[in-house]
Symmetry: C2
Subunit: 296 residues, 2 copies
């Protein structure tokens, strides 16, 4: 019985940053999110991999259900990219959709009663088909600039159906063609979500609800080695925490701090290397550091 | 008897932003800083103006001593610039140094016993001559990229003699040729200051001491009309508050919040227009908003 469903990509990544590189590293939005969520909850992932995929045991060793992971004929989705010293921007070298091209999410029976859902970054049309298969109390959704440009209408449909919508600062500005994040946040809230979270990378996170604003600065990291999956691990930890607690704005603020703590570990090494070495005690310690650093 | 000395420029500014423009507006680093400080303390300014200057009464009406304001033959320093939608970057059209060219700061007798000093952005050689004329307990200093490039050695001398050094993120990166603000902050602390404050514009403020880090997000403003003087009003309010309280890290954190609150008003209208309409009650209200917005 999974308490949280995470839908997104499972990938093999080739990543180069000024601090090193990895080839064929396990990655993808559903992967980073489910690893992060597994500190708090029992997630089940929905996604697709190819016949070349040999990392199922990595999920199972973290108690992540892979019953919703389809194995399709062909190769697993692959992303190759690099970062320069400004780690806020990923430069894509190659995207091989492979099995992702004909992916149709299908939820196993026991996923359909889960109360929490994270729609990680995939085609908004696929996000909508997931929403037809279940009625969770809490829906968190993410996106990327590509979908804002190519499938804006479908994306707006997704936003209307989310409890909490998540996007980064550049995407928020692009979605409503405004330079101001507060204006963008307000316009998203008008579509229906109870809350919108805008991720600003190293500059932290903004949360808007109809009546309040919450701001969390970024954790001050001196050694960022690979930012890939930062946003997904943030979201995964956030919904992992929320799935175990009754929803309130206070809980949402705490979830943002846990998300930021987990994401700050995620970027300290390539791929999932650092998350695999991180303990719940490490996360609690970083949570307390956040408390001490914003207090006045 | 002034309790706080502020050394810097007094200027007439021509400013254009996407939201309007002003000509010959009273400005300059010492002006914005002393207006902001006057909410908390009785500052005295040290600077120079030309024979065309007719705004002395504006300072006096705010209880800012102008005894240290020299009147020299010639015209007042003038700056012309504009901002595009990215208000983080000022574009300079023209700088007329005028009387500033031969300025030598000279402190009136009763300024020399003040316990607090703010060396706003001017030539570090002039900042050093001020430090020869008084021995305040608390020295806050600011700078700009121009001096980092042209007078690095003299600037490092100034930094060694400050209690709290202040600069923006771009300057911090440039000073020690690093992309990482934590690395930059640590290198500045090694020169001697007890604290370094890095201003990140809309992204807020970082404070580093030898043992702790404090982070305050930027106040979420929907209507920034003119960012000129944001950093100076931040610094002025900060040292204004500190000059009235015994120094501690806790006080420094609170001073950063007051500085951010006053700066957030400063940018809501052109020049000093908004600060003139702002009350201490408005500032306290915004301070409380900060408290509510960072709480988790």
């Amino acid at each position: 019985m999974v308490d949280l469903v995470i839908v997104g990509t499972v990938a093999y990544d080739n990543i180069k940053t000024p601090f090193g590189s990895v080839a064929d590293a396990l990655g993808g939005s559903a992967t980073h999110a489910s690893f992060a969520a597994s500190f708090f909850a029992k997630p089940g992932i929905v996604g697709v991999v190819g016949e070349d995929f040999n990392h199922v045991s990595e999920f199972e060793s973290r108690n992540i259900s892979t019953k919703g992971l389809q194995v399709a004929k062909g190769r697993t989705f692959r992303w190759s990219g690099y970062y320069e010293y400004d780690m806020h921007h990923a430069h894509t070298l190659e995207t091989q959709l492979n099995v992702l091209e004909s992916f149709k999410p299908e939820l196993p029976g026991d996923y359909r009663n889960a109360e929490s859902l994270f729609l990680a970054n995939i085609d908004p049309e696929l996000q909508l088909t997931v929403l037809e298969q279940m009625s969770p109390q809490l829906v968190l959704a993410d996106t990327m600039n590509y979908w804002i440009e190519k499938k804006r209408e479908q994306l707006l449909e997704v936003i209307k159906k989310t409890s909490v919508f998540l996007l980064n600062d550049g995407e928020a500005r692009e979605l409503f063609k405004t330079t101001n994040l507060i204006t963008a946040g307000r316009k998203i809230l008008q579509l229906g979500p109870g809350a919108v979270i805008i991720k600003k990378g190293e500059h932290g996170v903004l949360l808007f609800t109809d009546s309040t604003t919450f701001m969390l600065p970024g954790y001050p990291l001196e050694n960022v080695r690979d930012p890939t999956g930062a946003g997904d691990s943030f979201a995964g930890a956030l919904i992992g925490y929320l799935s175990q607690n009754s929803f309130s704005e206070d809980r949402l603020r705490k979830a943002i701090v846990y998300g930021s703590a987990v994401a700050s570990f995620n970027v300290e090494d390539f791929g999932l290397n650092k998350l695999k070495r991180t303990s719940m005690h490490d996360i609690e310690t970083r949570y307390k550091e956040f408390e001490a650093m914003v207090k006045f």
